[in-house]
Amino acid sequence: MAAGVATWLPFARAAAVGWLPLAQQPLPPAPGVKASRGDEVLVVNVSGRRFETWKNTLDRYPDTLLGSSEKEFFYDADSGEYFFDRDPDMFRHVLNFYRTGRLHCPRQECIQAFDEELAFYGLVPELVGDCCLEEYRDRKKENAERLAEDEEAEQAGDGPTLPAGSSLRQRLWRAFENPHTSTAALVFYYVTGFFIAVSVIANVVETIPCRGPTRQPPREQPCGDRFPLAFFCMDTACVLIFTGEYLLRLFAAPSRCRFLRSVMSLIDVVAILPYYIGLFMPKNEDVSGAFVTLRVFRVFRIFKFSRHSQGLRILGYTLKSCASELGFLLFSLTMAIIIFATVMFYAEKGTNKTNFTSIPAAFWYTIVTMTTLGYGDMVPSTIAGKIFGSICSLSGVLVIALPVPVIVSNFSRIYHQNQRADKRRAQQKVRLARIRLAKSGTTNAFLQYKQNGSLEDSGGGEEQALCVRNRSAFEQQHHHLLHCLEKTTCHEFTDELTFSEALGAVSLGSRTSRSTSVCSQPVGAGSLLSSCCPRRAKRRAIRLANSTASVSRGSMQELDTLAGLRRSPAPQSRSSLNAKPHDSLDLTCDSRDFVAAIISIPTPPANTPDESQPSSPGGGGGGGASSTLRNSSLGTPCLLPETVKISSL
């Protein structure tokens, strides 16, 4: 029900007294009214700005957030007010809607932000009042179009990121659509461009009169007739290339029907068809006339350049989008031409030897005059004709000038949009890099959390408390979630570098058995719910297993590089895992120091990129190990060359 109707209800009910004398049956009893508390003032606190309004005002629209019981979710019992964490400036408009019944659209705010506020408060966009409706819809449409175009451009320019497992068809199509993706595509692109140019030039040159060598009355023949074979060969070559290109495109197109109907493919067909028709046409005189006509269509090959030139495409889009303006222009011109041609014909009818033989003949004069060409092959000779002729030329100027600004503005809009798409494509790389950085940031934070967690048992409690306090509650819980996932699947998250190192080392073949045995320890039955962080004792054991896993990872890498000896057998118990570092390090140096260094491996991976190590870009166990080894005062020169070898893995 509309706004003010609720306030008039008591009046309507009171006026029902007028029915009482007429009623034939007793009227129903009145509904039990809830203990009316009188009208109360509600306080709505929007980000600190207090709005006060009558409760009745809000109740006018019961299907919105403020008018229904939904606002109770935002009620703060301590302060007795409704608190919303939203924009107070926008809320002003929302509240005014309740007060006046009309929703106004703020002119200086972003239309998207306004829409979001409307969605939050449960207001439908149709409620925007008439005074602001046009502008609202226009701005919204503009925004939506722009976003849609940007999205399209993004998807279209998605070339470099094609999945690895794409078929030949997909690769071919991508090569056709984005020639800059591979050198072969680029070569093909330029070759076809060259042949289009050659074909068009040949068509043009064919008709130039060449002077024959025989100096008789200089028979000027068109070059095409003098060198028919040469031109025929050139034409054949071009058509072969075009046919090949068309068939390849047809093969590679993801949707053949759509491709067949597209403008470019139609142009392709029209460009090569005359040649084939000419091949199969009999050489008799009757039909050859039509054959000559067909050759006109060869000029359509020049449109194939639109694939190569963006400007042409923009022009094409502009014309397409201005279709209605162009239609209007044509219509008004046609009207004017018919009117003036008729007038001129009847004005010049009396003169003998006049050019204005019929109304259609006068069309030519009218067109030439209205577009201010003025060839002068048809001129009026009577006074009336001259007067009407001058009116015709003046009105021509006006009619043609009218739709031009619209076309120009359309062109400018499309041109800017293209520029914007180009800029976006250029920034695409930066954006992707930023997204990747954000993702790796999360992962690194998690890995750091894990390694800090392993310090819990061995390191000092103080350091641990410091590290832990630095993370917000959200981060802690997020890391816990990721940890649970790890336990569920028995695999750990690592960063890319360690993963690629692990991948390389897996091929040595000594890892896999070890890894599954590491994994099977804490999981037990392998059910999904069980492995997430059981009680403390087990947790500690798992953490230790984690750390030893990372330890063994680091030490395993050292193992593999340290002249690939000592392939220890797969350890079957945790204790033997602990023993491993000791085993391997008896090779070179003091085992205790080395173990200490390894346990202090967890220098956070985020730090390692900062260290100026030219050859090791950082990353989990391997890089960390080398850095700490370098930093620690072990004085084991024998290890250093090996650490360099690790980092160059």
């Binding site: 229904s68 059910s527 997430c532």
Partner: protein, 229 residues
């Protein structure tokens, strides 16, 4: 030059132009006009939840908790319902390394109890109430419902394999140890060995609950997420 052919073309062009002009003034209906209604048809499904008191009675949350939950929910989805795409997007932000869309799809189906393609606040609260404040039986029931993709009361090996693959997908590529192709399958085998008592290839709800209640680890970790809110 054959005049007839080109004259024909010229006449054709004139006719086409004439038709276009007539179209211009709506005398010939060639294309559909985009109707105004279509633009405003961006019908966002708006949904308002039940009253706070009602929800408090139906679920095991206090008023304050419901308020907090609702504010977060409404912030993310002002229209009051979550559709599957939004849900997948939200969920994938927690697992940046892997691909969590498949698992999010299963989760969504588990929350969307009335299968209308959208999760409203009531569905959300119902699910959370079971997961956080429900009895062990209810939680296990919910988990069984999650695994039972086609909701027929049996978990087959294929369903379990789908779920397992979805979970392993979330780990992403960079794991240690390196993720092997048959890791999900092995995990499924282990699971079935433990759960499927009568070895008939499917796990029923009773087998599931029984086996889980016997497992200490599972029982102990049931209280794990209670302080989520």
């Amino acid at each position: 030059m054959n005049l007839e052919g080109l004259e024909m073309i010229a006449v054709l062009i004139v006719i086409v132009l004439f038709v276009k002009i007539l179209e211009q003034f709506g005398l010939i209906e060639a294309g559909l006009e985009d109707s105004v209604e279509d633009e405003l048809e961006m019908a966002t499904v708006r949904h308002r939840p039940e009253a706070l008191e009602l929800l408090e009675a139906q679920s095991k949350f206090t008023k304050k908790e419901l308020q907090i939950l609702y504010r977060g929910f409404k912030n993310e989805c002002p229209s009051g319902v979550v559709n599957e795409d939004t849900f997948k997007e939200i969920y994938s932000q927690f697992f940046p390394q892997g691909d969590s869309t498949t698992y999010a799809h299963f989760l969504f189906n588990a929350f969307d109890t009335d299968h209308n393609g959208a999760v409203s606040f009531e569905d959300f609260i119902k699910g959370l109430s079971i997961l956080l404040r429900g009895t062990v039986q209810e939680k296990l029931n919910w988990a069984f419902n999650l695994y039972d993709i086609n909701k027929d009361g049996y978990i087959t090996k294929e369903e379990m394999l789908d779920i397992m693959k979805a979970i392993y997908d979330m780990m992403g590529k960079c794991t240690y140890p390196v993720l092997k192709e048959d890791a999900p399958r092995q995990h499924v085998e282990t699971f079935f060995q433990k759960m499927d008592k009568n070895k008939d290839g499917v796990v029923t709800i009773d087998e599931f609950i029984e086996s889980c209640q016997k497992d200490e680890n599972i029982m102990r970790s049931m209280q794990l997420f209670e302080n989520v809110i």
